[in-house]
């Protein structure tokens, strides 16, 4: 077993780890009570800033900085939303935290609420997590019963209510403004930004949206201190003043064609190869890896040759992936057709596009239909051009959509075709010897849709 001692996952596997008693016995809630008694909210923000914590939800935005965007001296209410709509394919670290150590998440929520002066926190839970729902609700009830939640907590003038909100199973609800719309009871169509949630969020009030794992990290920073947190991971590049570094432990979700899939805690900056070999027991069945998704399907694709890339907030970007994302690594072995992989990816995004912006709504379904046709043996080389063009044109980065879903839909296309172009061309020429060179529009397949 690797040398790193798990912190976020320390209680996983111990009996009754989800209970308040277990959490207390590990020193839980004492840091919260101490901060509440001794520190001002601004000091707590500084504490988190000094730890260099970056959001674990995917974008990697520095958490303390995000809190600092809230308007000063706002009359309130200010809201905190914990994003537990963990829907990125391959990702399940939030689930483990919520099911087996919910108090760690709730303490982080309390500390974050205190720091941001939020008096109401919503935990937006994805529909498909019934056990997480039960455990979180039980933990919240325990916290109320222990006087850790409610009015004037522990005799202070800080009050906090936490509500558990269960979504209705849509990927887009994980986008922070989609999540906010959904909490408000509306269709989860992401909002146009600015205004950002810190200025205008839930019910048009200042709002912070943070990931479940971020909350757990906040608990640990409060317990072990920012110096401990900074001692782990990859320090900031001194040459680049805009690099906030990649500090702290990270929960990597390893799945796909490895011997031992699972959620592993490791310092940020571990390479993909280390993760697969040292934690995952190598590629399964003695086969070789072909590629891997570095952090959820929307981050793109790494080839086997790129496996030595460190999985920190900077690493995947150096090999053409979008970023670290949710650090959900899915390994694909040499027997998998990359055409099938891309088809599956396109099917997911066509199904989950919320349908607000034209380029994403129409683009994702167009991409899917092209892939369907290629797999039906009717592909053309021109299709690859169209797919790449669509991939380059859709998303927040070129500016053609409101939220990042389209970027996530585009990245697997760009990576798969650019990195495995030969395989696509071979497949198309082999399966469609008569028509691979056609450039005029062809009749559509009669396909059953993605639903």
């Amino acid at each position: 077993m690797p040398p790193f001692e798990p912190v976020l996952l320390e209680a996983i596997g111990t009996p009754e780890s989800h209970t308040l008693a277990s959490y207390r016995s590990r020193g839980g809630y004492a840091p919260f009570e101490k901060l509440l008694a001794e520190k001002q909210p601004t000091e707590v923000i500084e504490l988190v800033k000094s730890a260099g914590l970056r959001g674990r939800g995917g974008a990697g935005f520095p958490t303390g900085v995000k809190w600092g965007f809230l308007p000063k001296d706002h009359p309130g209410p200010i809201y905190l939303c914990v994003n537990a709509d963990e829907s990125e394919p391959g990702t399940f670290n939030n689930r483990i935290l919520m099911e087996d150590d919910p108090h760690q998440v709730i303490e982080g929520t309390m500390i974050s609420s205190y720091a941001t002066r939020a008096t109401t926190a919503y935990i937006y839970l994805r529909y498909e997590y019934p056990q997480a729902w039960d455990r979180l609700q039980a933990a919240i009830d325990e916290a109320y019963a222990a006087g850790l939640l409610g009015k004037n907590i522990k005799g202070s003038d800080f009050s906090l209510d936490i509500y558990l909100h269960r979504g209705a199973a849509a990927y887009i609800c994980g986008e922070e403004t989609g999540l906010i719309e959904s909490i408000e009871g509306k269709r989860a169509w992401p909002r146009i930004k600015p205004p950002f949630p810190a200025i205008e969020g839930v019910f048009r009030k200042p709002t912070v949206v943070n990931n479940v794992e971020t909350m757990a990290c906040v608990s640990q920073i409060a317990r072990r201190g920012p110096e401990w947190f900074r001692s782990i991971g990859v320090p900031a590049d001194p040459e680049n003043p805009r690099d906030p570094g990649s500090y702290g432990p990270k929960l990597y979700c390893l799945s796909g064609h490895v011997e031992k899939p699972g959620c592993y805690e490791a310092p940020l900056g571990i390479t993909l190869r280390q993760l697969v070999d040292e934690y995952g027991g190598g590629v399964w069945k003695g086969r070789k890896a072909k590629a891997a998704i570095p952090g959820g399907i929307s981050m793109g694709l790494m080839t086997e040759a790129e496996f030595d890339t460190p999985l920190d907030f900077k690493g995947p970007g150096t090999v053409g992936c979008m970023g670290l994302g949710t650090a959900a690594v899915v390994v694909i072995d040499e027997t998998v057709s990359i055409v099938d992989f891309l088809h599956n990816s396109c099917r997911f995004f066509a199904h989950e596009s919320c349908g607000q912006c034209t380029p994403c709504r129409e683009g994702t379904s167009w991409n899917l239909r092209i892939l369907e046709r290629i797999r039906a043996g009717k592909g053309r080389l021109k299709d690859l051009e169209i797919l790449l063009e669509n991939g380059n044109a859709m998303g927040m980065m070129p500016g053609s959509t409101i939220c990042g879903l389209a970027d996530g839909a585009a990245w697997p296309i760009k990576n798969a075709i650019n990195k495995f172009r030969d395989e696509f061309e071979d497949y198309i020429k082999r399966t469609n010897p008569e028509g691979w060179m056609v450039t005029d529009p062809v009749p559509a397949l009669q396909i059953v849709g993605a639903h």
Binding site: I192, G355, T358, R361, P441, P443, A444, H451
Partner: protein, 557 residues
């Protein structure tokens, strides 16, 4: 003054104006294509057709720095130093891409689509689209379903701009429409059991930039390129909404709202929108008739009417006779002015009263700031101003009825021209005047020289008693000026000619005043403005959106 730079041209905007880049660019003559943005609705920035390059020019250094990605013009405020580039290759490429995306699932059934000819998808594709299709070719399908009593949805033509959804939520306040499903499968729909049924429902058809929402009243009736458009004013209530009358060959096919921020913004109500059918009602009066003691209802020629009316009235009021005139609030200011002038020429003591003012319920306001008035006539205020110039006491319909009932007048000239209530066929609804009220004219008939002139669009208990029954014009057949409940005056030209056999009131009165040539409402309007301080603002030609009479009244008082 803040300066905005559009495609290199500098334009100044007002210091307190809050314009987005679409509006600012339009000032500079650059049209940025857009589907989802509408000035009367919230901004969603979802169609992505209006993407442009935007930057800022530093006031001190003059350096321009551009945002590296495209931004939606609808959502980007135009401020001092904002640089907008609407025609770069990047922008054109993005537009072509959006057009291409919108057409992937569109049935392209323009030959059978009512919107063809006024469809933004067509226009923008022609202007900004790619010449060739790259997406796969689909077999034609059609998904058509009812949204409610007025609107049909062609779901596959929809481009999901959600203007209609936002309209029902933000302006009508009824929220019947929603977006169902997700991604490319999503569709506009109503909630089960709650059809699109509100008093402003027709506006969603105007808002629809493509052929997805069809107006059942207009569906398959006429090709839009055959329609001629005349700016008009709705005569349905005292709100006086600006409209566009769309017609061909003297037949109205539909009414649409005309943007007028002072009156109706971008909307009209369904009652007004569909309130033109009475113009072509087969039961409409189209023949002038004269009834004498010896003959019953002979038709007469208009040339004879001009002289005959005058002769009859003069005879009737000779001695101690008196003429009573009801000036209908359906008449224009000019027609009312001429009517009063003619009446006073014949009988200087003539009673000039405001005609019957139809009302129906209370004023009804909507969240979007639109109000349907309970007073179902367009020009009560204008008629009052006209009468006040002749008789400051401004007698009402009721006092005219009392005078007639007591037999204190020997002649009565009742102008009416009321459309059937509720916009329904005339044969289905009662007349504006009931039998009992008509019976109050009994004494007039008993007098040997008694003369009753009725000018109306439909038969009524009063019309059947008339010595002179003259058909009157409908709202789209008149020219002149109406003044709405809030003293807002708007002039308009007739859209269609009155049916054969009908002289609009203006033409008859113009001839009775022995004016030369064709009826010209502008001449009368200027005369009225010169004679009446209340109408002084009408001396000049009115702007297309009309003007507020109160400003001039304040200035002169």
């Amino acid at each position: 003054m803040p300066t905005v730079i559009v495609d290199g041209r500098e334009i100044e905007i007002g210091a307190d104006e809050r314009l987005n880049c679409i509006e600012a660019a339009r000032r500079a003559g650059a049209e940025i294509p857009h589907y989802c943005w509408h000035p009367g609705l919230s901004v969603v920035a979802s169609c992505r057709m209006c993407l442009v390059e935007v930057g800022t020019r530093d006031a001190e250094t003059g350096q321009t720095s551009m945002i590296p990605k495209l931004v939606p013009a609808c959502q980007t405020p135009a401020k001092d130093g904002t640089v907008i580039v609407t025609e770069s290759e990047k922008v054109k490429d993005s537009r072509a891409r959006v057009e291409e995306a919108l057409l992937i699932d569109h049935p392209i059934d323009c030959p059978i689509c009512d919107k063809a000819g006024e469809c933004l998808l067509q226009d923008y594709h022609f202007e900004h689209g790619q010449p060739e299709r790259r997406a796969d070719i689909h077999a034609f399908t059609s998904k058509k379903r009812d949204m409610g009593p007025t609107v049909t949805l062609f779901a596959d033509r929809c481009i999901m701009c959600t203007r209609c959804v936002r309209f029902t939520r933000e302006v009508a306040g009824t929220g019947e429409l929603m977006v169902n499903a997700r991604g490319s499968k999503e569709e506009i729909d109503v909630f089960p059991g709650y059809p699109l049924e509100n008093k402003l429902s027709g506006n969603v058809v105007d808002l629809c930039p493509v052929g997805a929402l069809g107006d059942k009243d207009f569906l398959y009736q006429q090709r839009v390129w055959f329609l001629k458009r005349e700016a008009g004013v709705c005569g349905g209530c005292s709100a006086g909404c600006s409209i566009q009358t769309e017609h061909t060959q003297d037949t109205v096919y539909r009414l649409k709202p005309r943007e007028n921020l002072h009156v109706n913004k971008w909307w009209i109500c369904d009652e007004g929108r569909y309130g033109w059918h009475h113009l072509h009602d087969p039961s409409r009066l189209v023949e002038a008739k004269r009834r004498t003691a010896s003959s019953d209802a002979d038709s007469v020629e208009w040339a004879d009417i001009v002289t005959g009316l005058k002769a009859d009235l003069t005879t009737s009021v000779s001695g101690d006779g008196r003429l009573a005139v009801a000036v209908s609030p359906m008449l224009t200011v000019e027609e009312a002015w001429m009517l009063c002038s003619v009446a006073r020429e014949i009988d200087p003591q003539a009673l000039l009263a405001v005609g019957y003012v139809p009302t129906q319920g209370e004023d009804e306001s909507f969240p979007g700031g639109f109000t349907i008035r309970g007073e179902k006539c367009p020009n009560r205020v204008g008629v009052e101003h006209v009468i006040a110039a002749f008789d400051p006491s401004v007698p009402r319909w009721e006092s005219l009825l009392e005078v007639v009932e007591r037999g204190e007048c020997t002649a009565a000239w009742i102008t009416a021209a009321y459309p059937p209530a509720g916009g329904r066929p005339a044969t289905e609804v009662g007349s504006w005047i009931d039998e009992a009220t008509a019976a109050r004219f009994a004494k007039l008939r008993e007098q040997s020289a008694g003369c009753l002139i009725v000018q109306d669009m439909f038969d009524s208990p009063l019309a059947s008693q008339a010595n002179w029954l003259l058909p009157s014009a409908g709202f789209a057949e008149r020219s002149g000026t109406w003044i709405n409940h809030g003293q807002w005056a708007q002039s308009f030209e007739r859209a269609i000619r009155a049916p054969s056999g009908v002289w609009p009131e203006g033409r008859l009165l113009w001839n009775m005043l022995e004016r030369r040539g064709l009826y010209d409402p502008n001449v009368i309007r200027r005369e009225a403005a010169a004679a009446s301080p209340a109408l002084a603002a009408l001396a000049e030609d009115l702007p297309s959106v009309g003007l507020d009479l109160r400003l001039q009244q304040l200035a002169t008082s």
